[in-house]
């Protein structure tokens, strides 16, 4: 009985240790042409809770975000901030930690209420290596219409960083 209790406790601890979150976001931004544009976007992003570092590059057309540990930020919030500044958020390269689950033959990772669905263009050798459970991934998030953001994203896994 004691042993069962310890196992249950360990299980709970191991699950609670999985802090599903965004770690790093390189967000592509279209339409940003000037220093005040970059300044405004940088300032807007910095106002969001959960960011450790923000860097905006006009020449790359990207916002580079490093997120704080235990953050609750979502990619949708980040892309909405880009839109509020008058620009268009496009593809993103994101590092995420979360629980990988298989749902109706599709792998997906749930992070802070958002669902990242692994698309069929992920290299097959990566797909074959996937197992349910905690995972850290570097993924390419495909562009969605700015007006139709709903927290569900199609991703191509670039690299499995930790499983």
């Amino acid at each position: 009985m004691k042993r069962l209790g310890i196992i249950a406790l360990l299980t709970i601890f191991s699950l609670s240790g999985v802090m599903a979150q965004l770690i790093k976001v390189d967000q592509e931004v279209f339409g940003m042409d000037c220093a005040p544009c970059a300044y405004g976007l940088e300032r807007g992003l910095k106002k969001m809770d959960g960011l450790e570092k923000v860097q905006v590059s006009l020449n790359d057309g990207k916002a580079y975000l490093k997120l704080a540990s235990d953050n609750k930020l979502t990619l949708q919030k980040i892309q909405e901030e880009v839109r509020n500044n008058g620009f268009s958020a496009k593809n993103a390269e994101v590092t995420i930690v979360g629980q990988l689950v298989k749902n109706e033959n599709a792998w997906q990772v749930n992070v802070n209420g958002e669902t990242f669905i692994v698309s069929s263009d992920t290299p097959s050798e990566i797909v074959k290596s996937l197992n349910t459970g905690k995972i850290k991934l570097k993924v390419f998030v495909k562009d969605k219409e700015d007006n139709h953001l709903n927290g569900t994203w199609d991703i191509r896994i670039v690299e499995v960083l930790k499983s």
């Binding site: 279209f30 940003m32 000037c34 005040p36 300044y39 405004g40 807007g44 509020n84 500044n85």
Partner: protein, 278 residues
């Protein structure tokens, strides 16, 4: 009527917190609007020289981005020296050249960001003005309304905007200033040397042109047979430097063509504008 317009202006001021410029050309119509919730303050020094005299004016604009596509602005002048025969003209792209207090709404009704640093967009402007003087070039001056539309392309290297507008003055004491249709064309370029990435300073140069076609004024109910103000086409360079939350632009316009048949001819316009994004 003046009091009503002034009350509208005050109401707009109270609701808003202000407008933007400083991001594009100095004289010509442009398209960019502020970010949602963004504030901007501009202070400009403007001068217009004719053969006989020269005006000096300081002007301030406060702007506020209601949404990323809708911006409200209010601009107020400090007249240092007025021209006795002032041309009817717009000043900088969102400022009257004469001593008007003006409130305006900018609506970016089309925007297509199609690449890194690239976008194509169109903006409509509607403004109401009230004068700070009783007469202008000997004619009673009244409140006016102004509408304009502009469309353009922006990228990290090239910029181009084309636009047109119309200002209509209401009748005041049986007199009425003629209307003012105008058009502008701006081409901008950022040389490679200024292609440093943010937060490095960001400079660009523009060639701006402005065509104005002032209508005939009315005095004591009669059209003035020979209007003192003729059609003009002005052209000149302007420069815009941006660094973080600050922007500075300066430039001049010179007449390429003017058909003034009576009164002094215009020689040049100078302007310098400082912007701060709050």
């Amino acid at each position: 009527m003046k009091r009503t317009a002034f009350l509208i202006l005050l109401t707009v001021t109270a609701i808003s917190k202000v407008s933007a410029q400083g991001h594009g050309p100095l004289y010509g119509l442009q398209t960019p609007t502020l970010a949602k919730g963004g504030f901007d303050f501009n202070a400009a020094a403007m001068s217009l020289a004719t053969e006989d005299d020269q005006s000096f004016m300081l002007r301030y604009i406060w702007s506020y981005g209601v949404t990323e596509d809708l911006q409200i602005n209010i601009t107020t002048p400090t007249m240092v020296n007025r021209l006795s025969e002032a041309p009817r003209t717009r000043g900088n792209n969102n400022m009257p050249a004469n001593g008007d207090i003006e409130a305006s709404v900018w609506y970016r009704f089309f925007s297509n960001a199609f690449g890194v640093g690239k976008r194509f967009e169109s903006t409509a402007i509607l403004s109401v003005s009230t004068p700070t003087e009783e007469t202008r070039s000997g004619i009673n001056v009244s409140n006016s309304i102004h509408g304009a539309i502009s469309t353009g392309y922006a990228s990290r290297t090239w910029y181009a905007w084309v636009g047109g507008g119309y200002q209509y003055y209401f009748e005041e004491g049986n007199e009425q200033l003629g209307d003012l249709p105008y058009a502008s064309l701006v081409i901008g370029y950022r040389p490679n040397i200024f292609m440093g990435d943010y937060p490095k300073p960001d400079w660009r140069v523009f060639v701006e042109s402005l065509a104005e076609f002032p209508g005939t004024s009315t005095s004591e109910g009669q059209l003035i047979p020979i209007d003192q103000r003729g059609k003009k086409v002005m052209i000149g360079p302007s420069f815009l430097g941006l660094y973080g939350a600050w922007g500075i632009s300066f430039g001049a316009l010179f007449p390429l063509y003017q058909d003034i048949t009576q009164g002094p001819k215009e020689e040049y316009r100078l302007s310098m504008n400082i912007s701060y994004w709050l």
